[in-house]
Amino acid sequence: MRLDTQFMLDSIPIILKALPVTAFISVFSMLLGGLLGLLIALIRYYKIPVLDRLFRVYVSLIRGFPLMVQLYLAYFGLPFYINMYCQSVGIDNLAKNIPPLAFAVFAFSVNTSAYVSEVFRSALDSLDKGQREACSSIGMTSFQTMAHILLPQAMVAAIPNLVNLFLGNIKASTLAYMISVHEMMGVAVVLANRAYNYLEIYIVTAVIYWLLCVLLERVFARMEFRFSRYKVRV
């Protein structure tokens, strides 16, 4: 089978035009999911009654569901409840004005939060208890201990895993085309549909995502190096 190389080259700039959408989904779901995940990790670290158990179930469910199912649940399920709510308070159906992109970001954020919470929890657990005791021994409150000593170190310990999650998110964001979000994959598939050049398009998208990930890996590796300087013996 001959590949249509001209088509492949021509498709690259068109697909890249949708890079901002892919970036938007990945970055915002990482930020929102990261914050929520951190909150969950803290709740579980301090074993706050009720909430601790609640989020244990949450994390287990989210990690057990296929991401696609979460995406569909958000896209088809949420509008139903939003409608119900709108009707009950007598306002116009809001859901139909919400762009699919928002549901995608929502679903990916929720998904990310479960994984991030586990990353932070194990990072916090990995810190030796000596430093915590040293904080107590000089009269730091548990909040001060968390803010000045534990969290900064846990953040650094978590960087490699967070980077993996983020790269995973970029690739997972391709699923968003299933709910008609025009991110890179969505655009690529539309291109291919015209003349059935699926093979060409999949090769091009694979290379684009791969290059994107390699580039980001480099950037983040440098970042991690900077932040973990305190661990290095010189």
């Binding site: 000596g130 107590s136 021994s137 000089i138 009269g139 730091m140 305190y230 290095v232």
Partner: protein, 250 residues
């Protein structure tokens, strides 16, 4: 003055402290000796509220606390009046040498940054680390780390500093530098309780020596009383074992 009375502590079925009394006058240096497992560390940890005693009272100055029922607020109050130097120094890995010392001053005592820095530098110079302010703990030797730990405790100007075997995790060639810093601090009449296995050192610097075994204070007195004229059989045995080990090493 700090005084603890009738401290009891159990771990599951193991009775580690069985009614310990200890009094430290202002400016006094007290050494606690005793075989491994006799409860020395546990006693210090109970005083510092790192461990909750099953029974016992404590007085610091004119304030009284229950070691068992102290509230969170009282615990913080005690922890702010006491400081601990750990066997493993437990320095804050993400903070520089300077920050390790200033953090207690700025965060806990709410001192402003410039003052905290001045105080911290003074104590770090005292322990001989004035030139390592911006190093991180991982970049220091064990002895240097331990000296930062001592500066961190000193800077807080606590009513008492509790040392738990500050040299026993160190390589032999580093023990000397840490002991000499502690000796220097002792000479300034800072109130200290030191758990140590360094007998000669304890004899030199202490105003009072306490011998513990099996969760109780067996005997206490001046260094001369304990080292030259011990009254209790268990103290004699303990010291004898140490002399033998000491001679074997020589």
């Amino acid at each position: 003055m700090i005084r603890v009375t009738n401290v009891h502590k159990k771990f599951k079925d193991l009775e580690v402290l069985r009614g310990v009394d200890l009094e430290v006058k202002d400016g006094e240096v007290i050494s606690i000796l005793g075989p491994s497992g006799s409860g020395k560390t546990t006693l210090l940890r109970c005083i510092n509220f790192l461990e909750k005693a099953d029974e016992g009272e404590m007085e610091i100055g004119d304030r009284k606390y229950s070691l068992k029922y102290a509230t969170k607020k009282q615990k913080l109050e005690v922890q702010r009046k006491t400081a601990m130097v750990f066997q493993l120094n437990n320095l804050f890995a993400n903070k520089t040498v300077l920050e390790n010392v200033t953090i207690g001053l700025t965060v806990v005592q709410k001192m402003n940054k410039a003052d905290a820095r001045r105080v911290a530098v003074r104590y770090l110079e005292k322990v001989g680390l004035g030139d390592r302010l911006s190093s991180y703990p991982a970049q220091l030797s064990g002895g240097q780390q331990q000296r930062v730990g001592i500066a961190r405790a000193l800077a807080l100007n606590p009513s008492v500093i509790l040392f738990d075997e500050p040299t026993s995790a160190l390589d032999p060639e580093l023990v000397g530098e840490v002991l000499s810093v502690i000796r220097q601090v002792a000479e300034e009449h800072i109130t200290m309780v030191i758990v140590t296995h360094e007998m000669a050192f304890a004899r030199d610097i202490s105003d009072k020596v306490v011998f513990m075994d099996g969760g109780v204070v067996v005997e206490s007195g001046t260094p001369e009383d304990i080292f030259l004229n011990p009254q209790k059989e268990r103290t004699v045995q303990f010291l004898q074992r140490f002399r033998q080990v000491g001679e074997a090493v020589k």
